[in-house]
Symmetry: C3
Subunit: 677 residues, 3 copies
């Protein structure tokens, strides 16, 4: 979807009128319009309705919904409904049911419940997508296809097992190659026949979701499972495209959701969309990072905020209400990071089943005189005024953080050195250090081009895929600054150790050798002691570090800081290697936040990368640009008001129409979008 | 059983002589008599003995036991033995074995292990009950039938699945109705054939015992499962009644045990009996509440204390000994709340298997020279002296607390707003507030008549069943005071939300609208600030509240207190609505104990409901009445002695024979039963 | 193996060259020699390699390995490779796969994965052992057979079920006897046919690994499972012995591993060997106790340290590096307690799968310039110098602690009185009290001869097996001092209570009766108050005790101390009964460490059992003797140096060659072996 051609930010959300009597619909339309909405995601869970049996289809209700939307000036984000199969299908074609990690064949129930290698599921899901495309291809309401819903989970059935063997044959060609890359001679697991391979779950190689005897098979299963679901998506995608080549297709992703390699998925999506459900105690920088990750999936292209709750969720432990202003604030946070839509789950609350206590535009009371509705309507009005100003605008970052699903899987499957290593958490530490300083970041894959960045961070780059090392070396040679950490450069793409000394393929670039890796207990720390001053750090200044401590030796790198404690006190903990025109840094442990802020701040300073204006504690700032105009988003993430200092920057606050410059007061949870020409 | 015709309080317990060599029996008889016992529950787990194979029955041992009991002046509470099926039956008829929540077919083992919809179990359990009734119908020892034992658990086998579909057909008539009431259009679960419905467990709709995708099916399964076991009970009941229409029938219940709807069960029991196993750290008011719930099952009729331990349990984590005096104290606590018996599990400790470290009248040492035996014998002597004084006496309460199993299931299946909401715990907060003030309470079902009460409390009345709202309205109109809380009036009997604004059907009565429900994290609180003085509360007095906070608006109700914090500070938290001659109160959050005590104390005061005399901290007081005589039970639940002040009340302490009035000392863990004429 | 004939301490470890390209092998040999190694455990997980299909065997690689070892002066500890079956076998003969505790049939994966009652596994494992023995019987490298690997786990398949019934028939003869000893009349579990008996797991009698309805069946299953694996071991043992009657056979044990009764196993092992994997926070006295237990398995004979890590483990939560010196220190600790070898897992780190982050002599870097290698090589050199000095030397202890697997199983299956009772932990409290005072201890089975000891401790001797009571009585009569504790003497070997008063068969010996057993909550304690002075304890001195408190009465025993608190304050807690020429002590609760140290110290003093010279806090001392020469091991388990006072003892420190006497400084983590003539 070329979002830059939209007249305004899309505003709307999931809408399930088929769950209601038709008498309610006109009221829905009135209220959607009252709220300034222009898009509705429909047909998400209607498969059982539109295909009541094997060979019959009933589109009357959906027809009526589509027509009604159109008549009321509302676009349809039309879902293919395959996120949950009908009960009759489960009974007639039990192959659609999954087998779980414990090896249990499931029965009908839940959603996101179809085996991705079920012949029946693939047949019927593709067929319904095709039927929908054929029927609605020329419908004026149709703006966007929404394939299935929140793909996820895993299946361990016999069909998956057979498909896994084929997937492996395609990957490895020969069993010899597979035996080598899985190192099956360890524990005598050598396979002599493809059919000897069984899926890795609690009945075979794994004893929990993260614990496995053989990382190779578990890692490949994770890829296979992601690919299997992607295949299901692609089958529907192709079916849709056959009838509507020009209608963009998406499916709603889930941020840092672990089981699916979204970088791989995004290649097959016309536009990325995702569902943002922070908890009341989620850090705002974590949400920001997740938005940036979603934007990074397609190289910085704007994305859609497909779902968020207007107020409350139902599935968290303690479902706190979003405080007044917070829904608006978080909506703009999405836009600030690249969203070209603000959409909700859900427009009308259901009366029964497990999501009835999930917030909605239209609450159970049924009228518009609620806080939640008022806030939604006010936002709708604002977005209307905002027009197409920001649509299609892009962020421009000079710092990138490398992020990778394969790497995460491998890190978290690792047996040793510590169970406390959480990849996303470690990445977030680096992200947060920049966020706190108002420095904009892109999240890029292990395969993305790095040439547009000055500083590239790769926390816990445990896995080095083919070609990566030379690409990073080229980046540094050309003057870039590269930072990586402990437990990096250890394995190849199949979790086979690169022999000859850690950090393996990165050793030459980094100019160090990591001889040992010490794991600290959760209550233990070591110290980073600066050997010389660096930016704002004085010589001998000390910081805490924890989690893992690589015991490294310099092989040419400058030693900037040393450990302060234990038998490796005096060994390097922070090194910098001059490499061509650039520098490659190694941080041998997991430092406290103040270290990362000072250190990364200094790197940015060296590259003249400056904080966005207006940044201060608890205030987030981002910038999007389009056609030579900058849009500065300034978000006050605290209940109290504060005074923003824009420095020399001036512009118009698009949300108030007022000119702003220098000192401007910003209310609690309030937002400014400053247009800068 | 017309317990009022008994010559004295029944005293005895579970007795399993068939586990012992007959040479031990005479010693048993000697010791039971020494302990003053007159009833023994026999044949509880003897099915394998009395029916050693499909077609053979051997009653010789049981005959001998029955005869021996009679010869020694001991009544038999004769169990039907169907609480655990024989091993041969499990092997021959595997349909008696259950399938568990994880979908695993069980093998032979444990107890309470029979599928309630197993044709074999129903056939054989009914047949053995019939055989027993036929054989012992005229036996002089037979006083009472004890069907099976501690019914409980769940089964998810194919027989249950088939039976569930029939149960549903009977309830809903049509699939359309079922689809509507389960809201199956949500997530596209529409059923087109009854056979598409599968049992809700971890393989289908539920992901843990309390978490479900569809509350409707899970709630119906809970009802169905309770009904299935009740059917088993009723089959045995009918078989017994055919031969012994005049012998009362019971089965031992388990207090607040969640899976069985005891209000429904009690309709089919001639007398309620239950097993009381508090832990050393169970609050005495919790035990008191449970006794009151058991008494409430049959509208206040006396019940039997069927089991308690003489000293120690075996299945708790830390099986503390009951301190000297505590067994007696807790025995009288049962009587104080309506029990007409004091019975133990067990009379003689088993030598092997999992209950051998459970306390018994006759310990492993085998003689009577033990602390436990001495305490039992002393109590036996006391009960002998007490005669029939209290038998059949009833409590007279002017305050009722509404309690309901369906409501509990629905509350605890709810996805949102908080996982911290524990129905029994919330009910107990209200109970405890009255208990601490010496005000007697009845626990009544959602269907019981309320006309005899002045004050009715309905904490977390989430579910409003058909007709309830108008019955409560009538109660208030007639001058009653009704109190309910946050998260009330939300759904109908199938967990479908009552649209139009919370608290739904109760909105008119309460004169409020609850717009939103905020969930607090466990470490969060809000404040209740009194707007004006109320009873002992001064204006501006403040109290903590937590868990959930309804954001309510008055629609006519007086606002007595407001929230003190957060964005809803100043919104009502305590309201009172004049309705006819009475008042309907709403407490919008879960207040701390001091608030509830003061508030409920004031309501009682308004109705001239006074504390029972003698009440003081750690001392419990109840009153039973019979034939114009009052029996005041005064129980000192602390190790140290205290002085009881009876005020103007005087009478005879039946346990000492001494007259008491005004100031009377009561030793640690001691009890008085003051007869007041 | 007559280890006393070895020229020196064996030094080496697990070596898996078949996982590597042959080009690496010469480098391995160079480095092993550089490290002074002389033994390599090979073929541990090579079954799939040497038997690639049902009827084919390929020994070429193993031949080459054996030849290479020999050519490089390295012995082979030749494993039979049956610790993990090949994938093809799992596919062809699924009976080799286990069924787990949850009743789930497993698929191929992991290791230690074969059903011990699988006909296929028994056939093929015996056959491969036989083939190996036939092929290598005359190979000059062959020093020792290593059967399978770390036997363990459990199986619940139908083959096991059938075998269990036969095992039971052999044990009990008749169902009547079984029914009696399992007390199946409890809960009506009487069996009328052997085929009615099913394995006790989560589908039948158990609800978790430690919780069972019937202790009898669960205890017998534990024995049966241990015996089943022992049968597998014995089948291989016999196959090996047929070809190589003079080559010693071992299998590597795992210390206090619960499921296998190692005392029973050791009877069938020529030499005990075990794998020692303490965590960074394991107490050194716990490791010491475990070594002593392993030495005790064959009545004090030296054993082999088969595995330890050179530095890091991979499977712990936080895999701390062994600090410099600690690997050497812990190696000598093994030797100090009776090991005649120092062996590692592993000699070269694997490149893939779950143990690649487990330490190794040859790390991933591949060269010898690592801290770990240097420490290993230094130790190798030291052991070379040490020669055969200590080989075959034995410890001489006058104190024994009784330890028993059956007892542990029974204690931990017990339902009541507390879940907090951990048998090994309680035994360790007694061990540690002696360890802290430098008093050497043997761990002996419940069947071992006690006549060589002066003091015998039996903590939590819950189970008294046939003949035990009279053997202990004879020991005491002859002047011995016996100490047992709360929860002792309760049951027979089938967990049937000995009636007539606790401690049952020990009651006469101890002169007490335990009337009740109180369980304390984890935060509760009672007090031990000395009635009179005893050794270093003054009268009225008090100590804490916790966990369980037996309420005992003296029946002739002297009361040395009484409880200080609760209703049993003043009852005995420490008693001593004169019995013949000796004394039998009872400690009725679990005391704090200072009590046990003072009390056991006093008992030793009474028997003139003195501390080994050099003992001080954090310094461990043991002594081995051979041919009239004593070897005093003095180990400094702390980072800092300390001064050792040897008193009047003098000798040569074999590790430095220097004479030592009186005050000698010992560096942090350093060791002395003082040769005393």
């Amino acid at each position: 979807m070329n979002t830059s051609k939209l007249p305004k930010m899309l505003y709307g959300g999931d809408y399930n009128p088929e769950q209601w009597d038709k008498s309610v619909w006109p009221e829905d339309m009135r209220m959607l319009q009252l709220a300034g909405m222009d898009i509705a995601t429909v047909n998400v869970f209607s498969w059982a309705m539109i295909q009541p049996s094997e060979d019959s289809y009933q589109f009357e209700t959906l027809d009526a919904i589509m027509d009604m939307l159109h008549q009321n000036g509302i676009y349809a984000c039309l879902a293919t409904s395959t996120g949950a199969h009908p009960a009759w299908m489960a009974r007639r074609h039990p192959d659609v049911l999954r087998t779980d990690f414990e090896g249990r064949k499931r029965k009908f129930g839940g959603r996101h419940n179809s085996c991705p290698n079920s012949p029946s599921y693939r047949l019927y899901s593709t067929r319904i997508a095709s039927k929908l495309a054929e029927r609605y291809k020329d419908h004026p309401a149709l703006l966007l296809w929404h394939v299935s819903n929140e793909y996820g989970g895993e299946c361990y059935c016999d069909n998956c097992e057979a498909a896994f063997r084929i997937w492996l044959q395609q990957k490895y060609g020969t069993l010899d190659k597979l035996n080598e890359q899985w190192n099956t001679r360890f524990w005598g697991h050598t396979y002599y026949d493809w059919d000897e391979i069984v899926l890795p779950n609690v009945l075979s190689e794994q004893w929990s979701s993260n614990r496995t005897s053989f990382q190779g098979i578990s890692l490949d299963y994770a890829r296979f499972n992601s690919d299997s679901m992607l295949d299901c998506y692609k089958l529907e995608y192709d079916a849709l495209k056959q009838h509507t080549p020009d209608i963009p297709v998406t499916t709603n992703l889930m941020g840092t959701y672990k089981p699916l390699d979204y970088f791989k998925w995004a290649k097959h999506m016309d536009i990325v969309s995702w569902d943002n459900y922070p908890s009341a105690d989620t850090k705002t920088s974590f949400t920001a990072m997740t938005h940036d990750l979603m934007r990074g999936l397609k190289g910085g292209a704007p994305f859609l905020l497909m779902e968020q709750t207007p107020s409350q969720q139902n599935w968290q432990a303690y479902n706190t209400l979003k405080r007044p202003g917070v829904m608006r604030l978080w909506s703009y946070q999405a836009v600030a990071h690249g969203a070209d839509s603000v959409m909700f789950f859900q427009l009308r609350r259901s009366v029964g089943a497990c999501e009835k206590y999930h917030g909605a535009l239209i609450e159970h009371v049924g009228h518009e005189h609620t806080r939640v509705f008022r806030e939604c309507a006010a936002l709708g009005e604002e977005l209307q005024k905002l027009g197409d100003k920001v649509i299609g605008a892009r962020q421009s970052s000079r710092v990138a953080i490398m992020y990778d699903w394969d790497n995460r899987w491998a890190v978290e499957f690792s047996s040793g050195p510590t169970i406390a290593l959480d990849y996303v958490n470690e990445v977030h530490k680096y992200y947060d250090a920049l966020y706190q300083q108002g420095i904009q970041v892109d999240l890029v894959s292990f395969e993305d081009d790095l040439s547009s960045y000055q500083v590239v961070l790769a926390p816990v780059m445990y896995m080095v895929k083919p070609g990566m090392a030379s690409r990073i070396e080229a980046f540094v040679k050309d003057g870039g600054t590269f930072v990586t950490t402990y437990f990096s450069g250890i394995v190849n793409e199949n979790d086979i150790v690169t022999l000859g000394g850690y950090p393996g393929e990165l050793r030459n670039l980094l100019g160090i050798w990591a001889e040992e890796i010490d794991a600290l207990f959760p209550d233990q720390t070591n110290r980073i002691i600066m050997k010389e001053s660096l930016g704002s750090f004085g010589a001998n200044e000390t910081f805490k570090c924890s989690l893992l401590c690589d015991l490294i030796h310099s092989e040419g790198a400058d030693i900037l800081a040393e450990y302060g404690d234990d038998f490796y006190a005096g060994m390097p903990v922070l090194t910098r290697n001059q490499f061509g025109a650039g520098q490659a840094w190694y941080i041998a442990s997991s430092p406290e936040a103040s270290f990362l802020q000072g250190f990364l701040g200094e790197l940015c300073k060296q590259h003249h990368i400056e904080a966005l204006p207006g940044k201060q504690p608890n205030v987030e700032v981002t910038r999007r640009d389009k056609d030579g105009i900058g849009y500065l988003f300034i978000m006050n993430h605290q209940a109290g008001s504060t005074v923003i200092d824009l420095g020399s920057e001036t512009g118009i606050n698009l949300l108030t129409g007022q000119a702003v410059s220098r000192q401007t007061e910003l209310a609690g949870y309030d937002v400014m979008i400053v247009e800068i020409k």
